[in-house]
């Protein structure tokens, strides 16, 4: 038995597992790119457990990683030889403040559970991610973006207050007004500055029904013009879009024949409404120039929020959920977006639709106040993501191409979204954070002086 096992168990209300008890999931994350074996997996029950675990790690020189649903794909939510905190048992939802429109939650709360909990009040968090199976602590540590981000920013922008256990073991309540440096370090902070143990989230009132117009575009530039029009019109509550390939057979590419596609762009525009007051279709769609208006869907808003659940269930049933997921997501400047997207998609095989997809999301540059969620300059931005599911045997062939996609995005002025597969050099990390880098390094020294939290991803301290 590991000599540190008993001393650790004695400190905690929660449970401690050793390698002989680990499940395969605990050795990797959704990316399935890294296989790391922690020394212990801890399931904390309370903030006190987390404080005790941090102190234990510091005194025993162990590194500490934390995870919610482990949807990250790089060196996050996994641990090599350290302690892995699984936060899923800390999933309490506090009282809803209907006047202030807030709710307090623990970090292991899954967004889907929260939306169902809030349904009876017709309340909802302003921004929800497409995948509702991820945790509050996880997405706040990443930024958390969704189909309403063009209006409300990131999920991190919709936090009123948090409790954070820092890397030196202190419990700090922080907000944009109080201990704001820690607050903005922890939001989109990749878990590097502290562990979120409570978040007070903003809520908004939702209307019970949604109507979604399924428009289709055959021209990227027309789609982007309409996306900007839709964002600026103030008519829409949610905007969502994709790249959809129509396979065209094979053509030569770099010495061999490859399947290629003509790309189309579905654009789903959604409004919420009250029963008995359906939206005016013609007024809403005025000025838009789609190739086709494919379908119009009315459904309860709660069902709309869960619209991707059947897709993810299909991926699980088909087995692609277990494939590698080196997702490459970025936020592009509006001016270069079309050129970048066209270049990348010209080389993207239609098979990306098997267990994955190509995301496009029109965004506004000024909706997020988050200091760590890096986006290019500009009033209008375009999110773009290749989200493939790759069998292990294709990894060596695909990894170079995907890295080139990432490099190309950067050359077009993009900033990467960091939940996906990011393989930056130290210089690229500095470039990513820009002027924020030196502040973050200083905050890391201040709040995690022993550098125990979530090591292995961002090189906050130079290699010895």
């Amino acid at each position: 038995m590991d000599k540190l096992y008993e001393p650790l168990v004695q400190l905690l209300e929660g449970t401690v597992r050793t390698p002989d008890q680990f499940t395969a999931d605990q050795l990797s994350n959704y990316g399935r790119i890294f296989q790391w074996t922690p020394r212990f997996v801890v399931h904390p029950r309370s903030q006190k457990d987390i404080v005790a675990t941090v102190a234990f790690c510091r005194s025993n020189k162990l590194q500490l990683a934390n995870r919610g649903s482990a949807h990250s794909q790089s060196q996050l939510a996994i641990s090599q030889g350290g302690v892995l905190l699984e936060m899923t048992a800390m999933n309490g939802i506090g009282a809803v403040d209907e006047k202030a429109l807030t709710v307090d939650v623990e970090p292991g709360v899954v967004w889907r559970d929260l939306t169902h909990h809030l349904k009876k009040w017709n309340l909802v968090p302003p921004v929800l991610t497409n995948n509702l199976g991820v945790t509050v602590g996880g997405t706040l540590s990443m930024a958390g973006i969704g189909v309403a981000s063009f209006k409300y920013g990131s999920q991190g922008d919709n936090v009123v207050e948090m409790d954070v256990v820092t890397g030196d073991g202190k419990v700090v309540t922080c907000s944009p007004e109080k201990n704001d440096d820690l607050f903005w370090a922890a939001i989109a902070g990749l878990g590097a500055f502290g562990i979120i143990t409570r978040a007070r989230l903003k809520l908004r009132r939702m209307k019970p029904m949604t109507r979604t117009y399924y428009l289709l575009y055959d021209d990227l530039r027309v789609f982007l013009d309409d996306a900007r029009l839709a964002m600026d019109s103030g008519r829409w509550d949610h905007l969502e879009s994709w790249g959809a390939p129509c396979a065209q057979g094979t053509r030569p590419a770099a010495g061999k024949r490859q399947v290629f596609a003509k790309w189309f762009y579905p654009f789903h525009l959604t409004v919420e409404y009250d029963p008995g007051s359906p939206p005016d279709d013609a007024a809403l769609l005025a000025g838009l120039r789609p190739y086709d208006n494919v379908y119009t869907d009315d459904c309860p808003t709660i069902d709309f929020l869960e619209r991707m659940v059947p897709v993810f269930e299909l991926w699980r049933k088909a087995g692609t959920w277990e494939f590698m997921h080196p997702w490459i997501e970025c936020i592009l400047p509006w001016e270069t977006a079309a050129d970048c997207i066209e270049q990348v998609l010209a080389d993207t095989p239609p098979g990306i639709q098997v267990g994955g997809h190509v995301l496009l999301w029109p965004a506004k540059g000024k909706t997020s106040r988050s200091k760590n969620f890096m986006v290019p300059e500009g009033d209008n931005l375009v999110g773009f993501g290749l989200l493939p599911a790759i069998p292990q045997k294709f990894w060596s062939e695909m990894s170079e191409r995907l890295e080139n996609v990432s490099r190309m995005m950067l050359m077009f002025g993009a900033k990467r979204y960091l939940s996906g597969w990011v393989n930056f050099t130290p210089d690229e990390w500095r470039e990513h954070f820009g002027a924020r880098w030196d502040e973050l390094v200083a905050l890391k020294r201040r709040y995690d002086p022993d550098s125990i939290l979530n090591p292995g991803f961002v090189p906050w301290t130079p290699a010895p």
């Binding site: 053509r251 770099a254 010495g255 050129d339 010209a346 170079e400 080139n404 490099r407 190309m408 050359m411």
Partner: protein, 138 residues
């Protein structure tokens, strides 16, 4: 037939290869349309070859007008330059390294408007693919 790199026979074979390539014709249909699309490929001397070479390839709208080895490492008729040590070029032409990787990682230097080059990545890949298709004695 194996051709010796750096000879007229090699450069003429490249012209024929480019003009016979549907990949190049499609990918480069807009290359050189409204701008100087001539590309100077500079093979810098290193351990893989003690002698450097520069190849000027005149390209416009999916076609190759001519290709010739030229003296020096720059040329007034070139609109763009791709410059790398010989060993990098050998790896690219042997398809051991993707040309895109060499460019994007800085192993191959780009001269000219980088954004224009970025917008035509399939065209450069097809150009390099044509060169790689030649059976070459370096």
């Amino acid at each position: 037939m194996t051709l010796t790199f750096g000879t007229d026979a090699w450069s003429q074979a490249l012209v024929a290869e480019i003009n016979g390539s549907s990949e190049y014709r499609n990918a480069a249909a807009k290359w050189g349309d409204g701008f100087n699309g001539n590309v100077l490929l500079v093979f810098e001397a290193d351990g893989a070859s003690p002698k450097g070479h520069a190849l000027l390839v005149k390209l416009v709208k999916g076609a190759c007008l001519s290709a010739s080895f030229v003296p020096g490492s720059s040329h007034p008729e070139a609109g763009f330059g791709l410059r790398a040590p010989f060993s990098v070029w050998k790896d690219v032409l042997a398809r051991k390294t993707l040309a895109a990787t060499a460019i994007l990682t800085g192993k191959m230097k780009v001269e000219g408007d980088r954004m224009t080059l970025l917008k035509h990545t399939a065209a450069h890949r097809a150009l390099v693919s044509c060169a790689a298709a030649l059976e070459t004695d370096f």
